[in-house]
Symmetry: C2
Subunit: 344 residues, 2 copies
DNA sequence: GCGGTTACTGTAAACGCTTACTGTAATCGC
DNA sequence: GCGATTACAGTAAGCGTTTACAGTAACCGC
C-alpha cells in the first residue's frame, strides 16, 4: 500500500549515500561535521553532494534534529533606514554560521494572549531577536519558559528574566549631545521622548537630565514632549508646544526622524535652524547628512547592533558564554544644525 | 529500543486530539481547513488548540505535507529606505495568507555554479521573490526547472522562462520627468544609468531617449554616465563629467540616491540647484522631500511592488491565475530641484 | 598474543505532522 | 424500504533527515 504522493525528483540523502558508496548516516555526519569520518570518505561524500547539487531538506532536518537552523527577527513596522542597516547586520552575522533569517514585522500591537500567536517561535526557529515594543512581556516570558533562546534588541527583557540585551550607549550619547548644545550657549533645551515605554528613550532622557544637572540648568517639564521617534508625531507635538507658548533655544529631538519633523515645524513657524533654534538628533540616519541644514546627531552603530544581537543569539543557541548586556558605543557627530555663526 | 532524545514539553497534535476527543487527522483538517469537519467538532478542536497554546511544528508540517508555508526573498545588499518599504510590502501581503518570510541579502555576486548554493530554495521555501542582479540566470533557471515558483522583482527573467515579473512603469516615469525637465527650459539633460544590466535603468534610459526624441533634442552620448543608483558612484561619475568639460543644464540622476550624490558634487563645483542645474530623481525615497532643495522625482509604489510580488508568488504557489507581467504606475512629483524662479 | 581502546561506519528508530484509504451512520432518490 | 450517496471521522504509512546503538577492523600496551 504505497502512500507516496509525489514521485519527486528531489535529490535525497540516500542518493548521495549511494553515489558515494556509504550510508546515509555518514553523509549526515559529513554535512553536519559531527562524529568521525575518514578524510577519504569525507571527500567522496562532498564530491557526490556537489555532483548531485544536493541540498538537505530543511524541514526534514528540523524534524529529525532539534534545530531548524533558522533565526527569527521580530520588528515593529519597517520605517526609516535604521531597519535596513539592522537587518543587514543580522544577515551578515548568521549566514556564515549556517543560519537563515525568518522575519516578521508587527505593525500593530500583538501578543500571545490576544488571539493568534506570533508566526515566529519555537515551532519554526532556534531563537528570536526581539526588537519591538509591540510584543508584550507575557509573550516573551512564555517563550522564554519554553526554553526558546531570545535576545532583546534595544529593549529590556521583562523583570527577572535572564535574557541578554543589546543597547546603544544611549545615556552617554544623549549626555554628550546635550552637553554640546549647552556649550553652544543654549540653556532652554527641549527634549522629545520616544514611544511610551521605549527603553532607548528612557535612557536618553536620563542623559538629557544628567547633562542639565551637570551644568546647573534647572529641569523644566514643559520642555519635555513626546515625538515618538517619528517625524509626524514630532511635528505635531512641537507645534502644540510652540502654540502653547513654550520657549526654547534648542531641541534634542530624541532621534533623527523626529528631528526631521522638528525641522518642518520650525520652518512653518519661521524659525531658522540653527540661528533661532539649534536641533540635534540621534542615530545618524543615512539622510541626516543630506537634509538642510545637516543634522548634528549621535552616531549609533546600527548595523553593528544587528550583528551583535545575532551573534549573541547564536552563542546562546550553541551554548557558548554570553554577556547579559552589550552596550554599543556612540559617537557625537557635529554638523550645522547646532552651529551658530556658520552660515547654512 | 526507544530512541526518543528529548523528553520535550512541546504540545503536539496528539495532545490536542486527546483533549478534543478526536483523532490527529481531524485536528490536522481543522488546522488546514481541508476535508470536512462538523462545526461542533471544529469548535472543540479550536478550543483545545487555544487552551494548550498549540502551534504546529513547522518542520513536521513541511516534511509531511509538501509545503513549508515560507517564502524566500533574495535581495542585494540592504541600502536605502527603498528596501524597507519593499520588505514591509511583502510582509504585509503574506502573513494574512499564512506564510512566513525567509530573507537573504546577497552582498556579493553569487551563483549556484560558484560554490555554495543559495541558502534559500526548494529545500526551505515554497517559492522565491528574486530582486537582485547578483543571482545569475543559470541559478534561476536551475531552480525554475526544479519547479520552484519564482517571481522576479524589478528584473526580467532569463530568456524564454515563464516567470512573472513585477516592474515599475519605468519608461513612462522617466519619459514624464525628462519631459518635465524639457518643459522647464532645459535642453542639455544628462542621465546617470543604474548598475550594469539593471532592468529598471534600461527602461528609464528608453524613457529618457524617447522624451528627447519627442522634443527634437539630439541625443548626446557624452551626457550619459553611470551613477549605479548610488550616491557615492554618482558623485564620482558626475565629477569626472564636469572635469572633462561636459556641459548640461539638467540631470536626471536615475534614482533618488544617485541624485543625492549629484547634489554633493554640484555643491562642490559651486553649481546651484536648480538655478545652474536642475536635478531630478526616481523612486521618491523617504528623504527626498527633506533634502535641500526638495527633489523632483518620480514616485514609485515601492511598498506596493513588494506586496504585488508576494501576492503573485502566492497565486503561483496556490495554482491561481497570474499575469506574466505587472507594471506599477508611477507618478511625477515636482519639487524645487527643478523649479527655476522659485527661491530655494 | 590478547584484552582494551580507538576510529570509523552501518542499521533503523524516531521526529510530528499530513493524507490516502477505510469505515460508519445518516440521508437521499424513487 | 432499499441501494446508493454523502458527511464525517479514524487508522496508519510515509515525508527526509538525525542519531543512539551496534558493529568491525586496526591499533595499542604490555
Amino acid at each position: 500500500m504505497s502512500v507516496r504522493r509525489t514521485n519527486s525528483q528531489r535529490v535525497r540523502i540516500d542518493d548521495v549515500a549511494r553515489k558515494a558508496g556509504v550510508s546515509t548516516a555518514t553523509v549526515s555526519r559529513v554535512i553536519n561535521g559531527t562524529g568521525t569520518v575518514s578524510v577519504a570518505t569525507k571527500e567522496r561524500v562532498n564530491q557526490a553532494i556537489s555532483d548531485l547539487k544536493f541540498v538537505a531538506h530543511g524541514s526534514a532536518r528540523g524534524l529529525a534534529g532539534t534545530k531548524t537552523h533558522t533565526l527569527g527577527l521580530v520588528l515593529p513596522g519597517l520605517t526609516t533606514f535604521f531597519f535596513t542597516a539592522l537587518i543587514q547586520g543580522v544577515n551578515d552575522c548568521i549566514y556564515d554560521r549556517g543560519y537563515s533569517l525568518l522575519m516578521y514585522s508587527v505593525s500593530t500591537p500583538a501578543s500571545m494572549t490576544s488571539g493568534k500567536p506570533l508566526p515566529l517561535g519555537e515551532h519554526n526557529t532556534d531563537g528570536l531577536i526581539v526588537f519591538t515594543d509591540f510584543l508584550d512581556d507575557y509573550s516573551i516570558q512564555y517563550m522564554h519558559e519554553q526554553n526558546l533562546p531570545i535576545v532583546m534588541l534595544h529593549r529590556s527583557p521583562p523583570e527577572g528574566l535572564d535574557i541578554p540585551k543589546i543597547m546603544f550607549e544611549n545615556e552617554k550619547g544623549a549626555f554628550d549631545i546635550v552637553e554640546h548644545l549647552i556649550q553652544m550657549g543654549n540653556r532652554r533645551i527641549a527634549y522629545l521622548k520616544g514611544p511610551e515605554g521605549n527603553e532607548d528613550s528612557r535612557q536618553r532622557e536620563l542623559g538629557y537630565k544628567r547633562a542639565l544637572a551637570a551644568n546647573n540648568i534647572p529641569l523644566d517639564d514643559s520642555l519635555i514632549g513626546r515625538g515618538n521617534f517619528a517625524s509626524g508625531r514630532a511635528r505635531n507635538e512641537l507645534e502644540s508646544m510652540l502654540e502653547s507658548g513654550v520657549k526654547f533655544d534648542a531641541i534634542f529631538a530624541g532621534n533623527d526622524d523626529a528631528a526631521v519633523g522638528v525641522y518642518e515645524t520650525l520652518q512653518k513657524f519661521n524659525l531658522r535652524v540653527p540661528e533661532d533654534v539649534a536641533v540635534a538628533g540621534f542615530d545618524d540616519d543615512y539622510m541626516s547628512q543630506y537634509i538642510s541644514p545637516p543634522l548634528t546627531t549621535v552616531k549609533a552603530p546600527v548595523h553593528r547592533s544587528g550583528f551583535e544581537a545575532a551573534s549573541t543569539l547564536l552563542d546562546l543557541i550553541e551554548g557558548n558564554e554570553t554577556s547579559s548586556e552589550v552596550r554599543l558605543n556612540t559617537e557625537l557627530v557635529i554638523r550645522e544644525s547646532t552651529q551658530r555663526g556658520k552660515h547654512v
